[in-house]
Amino acid sequence: MLTAKLRKRITRVFLNLLTAVLALGWATIIIWGVVVSFRPENEPLGRGDVWFGHHLTVANYLKAWSLAPFGIYYRNTLLIVGMILIAQVITVVLAGFAFAHYRFRGQKWLFFFILLQLMIPAAALLVPNFSTIRKLGLFDTTLAVALPYFGSAFGTFLMRQAFLEVPRDLVDAGILDGCSWWQLLWRIYLPPSLPTLVAFALSSISWHWNEFLWPLVVTLSERSRPLTIGLVRFTQLGEIGARWPLLAAATITVIAPLFLLFLVFQKQFVRSFLHSGLK
């Protein structure tokens, strides 16, 4: 007969073990990717010999960067993510403010119309949006990748919710002080809503940093290709074949900045993803 105390202890050890095994299994992908990216290329991987080589080397990174213009891919990704971020912050704050602060004719319909974007995800509209981009003469530009995201129904919805939580007394006081609409927005609505805006911004950054299908379709040359497209093209280069250390280095190159940002701001990221459930 086991005592209750002992049984509890065994359960706890079992659960800890289970957690460790699962988490390690999940993490193997990134750990392996990082380890292999530093493995000398002249030591081929083989059965039972898939981790470290005899020494660590950054040669794979240098080689990968010489085979494909990762610098340009970085610039393009930063441009795309930056454009979207700036545009979204502006449009989302303004629209959220309009819906939270004002009562105007057709407000409900307009709000519902904007929420359409949540019901029909952009991925489904790849084909017609591609022809729109062609007609606008934007094909193969970073702007083409960014433009469809300049407004965000989800962000508008989030900011409206945040603004609605600002106490009415504060707003009324601002009005009595003679604030104009943008002073109200800037001084009274925005400060307490900043955490929501930051959460939205973080999820926007990681979403668009990682995006693949849309940029694949609207970009054609190095001048507009972001990192994700560059990586896939890299894996298909003739001279790459199954040179895993090289591939790993290219992959880590694409992952690294966002991943480091995430490690530093883990809590904020998780919070932002919780917020962005509806995307």
Binding site: L15, A20, W26, I29, W32, G46, R47, V50, I90, V92, L94, A95, F97, A98, H101, Y102, R103, F104, Q107, L110, F113, I114, L116, M119, I120, P121, A123, A124, L126, V127, P128, F130, F150, G151, A153, R168, D172, I175, S180, W181, W209, N210, F212, L216, V217, L231, V232, T235, W244, A250, T251, V254, F259, Q266, F269, V270, F273, L274, G277, K279
Partner: protein, 301 residues
């Protein structure tokens, strides 16, 4: 007080100001959501191949594209694969997410690290993750096969080019990527559970197992509904890993809806058929969001 202030509360700026403020967002939705939906519907009634000279200009053919889809063996295979993909990855991700949340919601040293281990795939680009999985799946020395052999597996090794295993392989990657993301919603749900119910159950001498299934799980029903909806929508709109791992192959064995849509439009250059596929996909997405809405309204009531 509030009655006197209400009168001038919403009068800052000219009457057209709220329209101006919402204009940029409404314009984006108009140009990139509403208009393309109409355009896809319209183009789905036409025949247009961009790679065949005499079919370059659109010709009206009525419902022909939809008929083609209804009788196309390729499309039927895609539908079957998509059903397997969604019905396989969604419950699996949700169950794992729940398990992970339960495991990391304990006050144990180093639990933050485990949480990180489960969550980090969320912030990796799917194509980068898939690239590492590509060599994870390598026959012979790939860690996937090494691990399988260690537990006594002697089946085929090259999953990605095996017609029976390729779809399963891309599903595994999707579950690995998504479970940690869904976990955080359960984690938030667990941390908001009322403690008094559990205290009462303790007094009644309920076992941990009973508490889990009779209290925790039912209380998290709304989270489960929410998480399942995100998972379903994600399953339809994320095919990035298929580009890296299998390109839908071998012979269509791992082809799913959105990947097929991309192929029809950008490889076969068949605009009409791709538009019909777009319409079908929009209808599926609308059905999912509406169902979710109806359910959550009912739950909320």
């Amino acid at each position: 007080m509030s009655a006197t202030t209400r009168g001038f509360t919403r009068r800052q700026g000219p009457p057209w100001l709220p329209y101006l403020l919402t204009l940029p967002t409404a314009l984006v939705v108009l140009v990139f959501t509403a208009w393309p939906t109409v355009q896809a519907l319209y183009m789905s009634f036409f025949r247009q191949y961009l790679n065949i000279a005499k079919f370059r200009t659109p010709t009206f053919i009525g419902l022909k594209n939809y008929q083609t889809l209804a009788t196309s063996p390729d499309f039927h295979q895609v539908l079957r694969n998509t059903a397997i993909y969604v019905l396989g990855t969604v419950p699996m991700s949700v169950v794992l997410a729940f398990l992970f949340a339960l495991l990391v919601n304990r006050a144990v040293k180093g639990i933050g690290l485990a949480r990180l281990g489960f969550f980090y795939p969320t912030i990796l680009p799917m194509v980068s993750a898939a690239t590492i999985w590509l060599f994870f799946f390598t026959p012979d020395y790939g860690l996937f096969n090494t691990a399988l052999q260690a537990i006594g597996y002697h089946g085929p090794q090259n999953w990605l080019s095996n017609p029976h295993l390729a779809l399963l392989a891309v599903m595994i990657v999707a579950v690995w990527k998504n479970a940690g993301y869904l976990m955080i919603f359960y984690l938030a749900g667990l941390q908001n559970l009322p403690t008094d119910v559990f205290e009462a159950a303790d007094i009644d001498g309920a076992s941990a197992w009973t508490k889990l299934w009779k209290i925790t799980f039912p209380l998290l029903r709304r989270t489960t509904l929410f998480v399942s909806t995100i998972a379903i929508i994600d399953a339809f709109q994320v095919v990035d890993h298929i580009f890296v791992l299998t390109q839908g192959g071998p012979s269509g064995a791992s082809n799913v809806f959105l990947y097929y849509l991309w192929q029809v439009r950008f490889e076969e250059q068949n605009v009409g058929l791709a538009s019909a596929l777009t319409v079908v996909l929009i209808l599926i997405m609308l059905a999912i969001t509406v169902t979710n809405f109806v359910y959550s309204e009912r739950e909320g009531a």
